[in-house]
């Protein structure tokens, strides 16, 4: 058998064994479903637009924009056009879900990719669920207007409650924020709590010795386990994305970010499995590593002053969050994502080498 083919065969056999074992391990299987339960809980707290009653939107339209006519045709949306921008602000303060101020020539500028300005008014005191639904709706209609998955306008979000930029008033799309946070939480959770057991259990039960005297070498063992972890991660996050209808924006970039980010975090989990001897040791450290890797997903809504902001950039999961935020907002271009992709790819390669080293160390060659 050709060597390379034989190696791929061995990697797949190890991955398949781990996947079958994960299904047979009831505790592990249940813990894999936890992210989906979490998603359901978050969705109960922050319901999406389909679960809400009428959404009241007020608009000051100087452009006679198609955006307004599209919004008017959406069931569940009550749209009112107002004479002045100040009236929009007043109504958003008192009763509307959100407001728009569309400048003259907006549609024409969108048609030639000039990124015209668009002011979006929200009221942070009206609650997160309505705001995130309103923002998602505007994003979707703008993509529809542009005919592609990049946002065609420079959105300026103004909080009529006069709050400083914060969770709901910073221009952050709440729906996107929750989606990114849950996705990162799921991947980090699987990486920090589930994946280490793939290696630690082999050490505890001494089956790693059997693997290492078989034709599988340390690199094949690590690659097989990484593949199993990656498959599990992608099945879970893929299901969550489908349930959450999150395949919006630049979805190929989202997919690439999820694959690369999952692979990196799976390898972090395997590195933990390589360094620690027992499941108990892993559980002691998993919580700390989970918080550290989750931190970047919170920074997008709670901007940190330097040097804390700089420190967060040292956490590799920051670049996964950045990629997901950009791609799901439809803002991702090659120029804006390449650096994050490169950082994640380098971190993944380093993590792979570290895990192989820990397995070789176990082999004490």
């Amino acid at each position: 058998m050709n060597n390379r083919f034989a190696n791929l065969h061995i990697i797949w056999m190890i991955a398949r064994k781990d996947l079958v074992d994960a299904v047979k391990n009831q505790l592990l299987f249940l813990s894999l479903l936890m992210p989906i339960f979490l998603w359901l809980i978050f969705r109960l707290i922050f319901p999406d637009m389909s679960s809400m009653d009428t959404m009241k939107i007020v608009v000051h339209d100087e452009a006679n924009s198609r955006l307004v006519s599209e919004l008017r045709n959406i069931p569940g949306v009550a749209l009112s056009e107002l004479e002045t921008e100040q009236q929009v602000i007043d109504l958003v303060k008192s009763q509307a879900s959100g407001g728009l101020a569309i400048p003259a020539g907006f549609d024409e500028a969108v048609a030639v990719d000039q990124n015209p300005p668009l002011t979006v008014y929200i009221n942070s005191r009206s609650g997160g669920g309505g705001i995130q639904a309103f923002q998602s709706l505007i994003d979707q209609q703008l993509w529809k207007l542009a005919g592609h998955d990049s946002l065609p306008a420079q959105i300026k979000t103004v909080d009529t409650a006069g709050e400083k930029p914060g969770l709901f008033g910073s221009g952050i799309n709440m729906d996107r924020f929750i989606s990114v946070m849950l996705l990162v939480l799921s991947i980090v959770g699987i990486g920090a709590f589930v994946v280490p057991s793939l290696l630690v259990e082999e050490k505890e039960k001494q089956t790693l010795k059997f693997l290492l005297v078989s034709p599988a070498g340390p690199a094949e063992v690590v690659a097989g386990k990484a593949l199993a972890g990656l498959v599990v991660c992608l099945v879970i996050v893929g299901s969550m994305m489908i349930l959450n209808k999150s395949w919006t924006g630049n979805w190929p970039v989202t997919l690439l970010a999820l694959i690369l980010g999952s692979l990196f975090l799976v390898l972090v989990g395997l590195a933990m499995g390589g360094f620690f001897k027992t499941i108990a040791q892993v559980n002691t450290w998993s919580g700390i590593i989970l918080v550290l890797l989750l931190l970047p997903s919170w920074v997008t809504v709670m901007p940190l002053p330097d040097p804390f902001g700089m420190i967060v950039r040292l956490v590799p999961s920051y670049y996964l969050v950045d990629l997901l935020n950009q791609s799901m907002a439809g803002n991702a271009t090659f120029g804006s994502i390449w650096s994050s992709l490169v950082v994640l790819a380098i971190c993944t390669a380093v993590a792979f080498s570290v895990v192989v080293w820990t397995v070789k160390r176990e082999d004490r060659i």
């Binding site: 056999m13 001494q206 005297v213």
Partner: protein, 282 residues
């Protein structure tokens, strides 16, 4: 023809020698016993010979493959039964063997064949968690011979087994040798080594202190005579030299006072104690 050739093999951990200058050969189809107390260096030697760790000095080859430079070829011609019964607990017997078969590129028909050989075909679909120690050990051995290795390394294969299960394992080992396999056996059960091995090496503190056939070792270190136990409980030793005219033995036999008579040759355990001052069970 030598299947295992070891020359000056040494290994240190953190500067401390664990295995020191081992030199021996094992012929094809032979069971070679590697005997010593816990911590003598038996498992480290097996780990070196199976390519799990590199020696610090010396060289060795298994079936013609160098243990350091031809590790991948080495892996395909050896089978290893570890001291621990390291099976995938949530898998059944069949799945454990099928996974191993997939790594070695062995046909699944061979899994059925080996399960039949070790008498586990009926229980193949039960999780190994439910197996007795003896059954688990049979699966471990079946896994090690699935790809028909030329050399089988057995690290304490009967440790912790009841006498019946241990006997079954010993029968399996002799069956494998009958098929042409070479066996490298570590054990501290002397009767097992005496019963199975053509050649034994005693290892103590990392060094081989004796290497020969069990019979020659016992003859070299034992007394040449017989031990008699009389009906009144007294013990009498009669050297073979004194038996030339048969007077004393004939006298005792005629008086009907002899309860038992045994050869006074040493056991392997006695030989080891004489050589090292330590007992094997230590």
């Amino acid at each position: 023809m030598n299947t295992i050739e070891v020359e000056g093999l040494s290994r240190t951990f953190n500067g401390k020698p664990v295995v020191n200058e081992l030199t021996f050969t094992v012929q094809e189809g032979e069971i070679f016993g590697f005997l010593g107390p816990n911590g003598a260096g038996k498992t480290t030697t097996i780990r070196m010979l199976t390519g799990q760790i590199h020696p610090t000095n010396g060289r060795a080859s298994i079936a013609g493959f160098d243990i350091v430079h031809q590790r991948q070829q080495l892996k395909c011609c050896i089978g290893v039964v570890f001291e621990e019964q390291n099976l995938y607990e949530r898998f059944n017997g069949w799945e454990n063997l099928a996974f191993s078969a997939s790594l070695y590129g062995v046909d699944s028909k061979r899994v059925a064949e080996v399960l039949e050989q070790v008498g586990l075909r009926e229980r193949a679909k039960d999780r190994v968690q439910k197996y007795s120690n003896g059954m688990r050990q049979r699966v471990v051995i079946a896994r090690a011979v699935l790809h028909k290795p030329r050399v089988l390394f057995l690290d304490e294969p009967t440790r912790g087994l009841d006498p019946i299960a241990a006997r079954e394992i010993r029968l399996m080992i002799t069956g494998l040798v009958d098929q042409g396999m070479t066996v490298f056996l570590t054990t501290h059960y002397m009767e097992e080594a005496e019963h199975l091995c053509r050649q034994v090496a005693f290892i103590n503190q990392g060094r081989i202190v004796a290497l020969d056939t069990p019979d020659r070792l016992k003859a070299s270190y034992g007394k040449r005579g017989i031990n008699l136990t009389l009906l009144d409980g007294t013990h009498v030793y009669i050297p073979f030299d004194e038996m030339k005219n048969g007077e004393r033995l004939g006298e005792l036999a005629a008086s009907g006072r002899i309860l038992t008579a045994h050869s006074a040759e040493a056991s392997l355990e006695d030989v080891f104690v004489q050589l090292t001052g330590r007992r094997l069970a230590e």
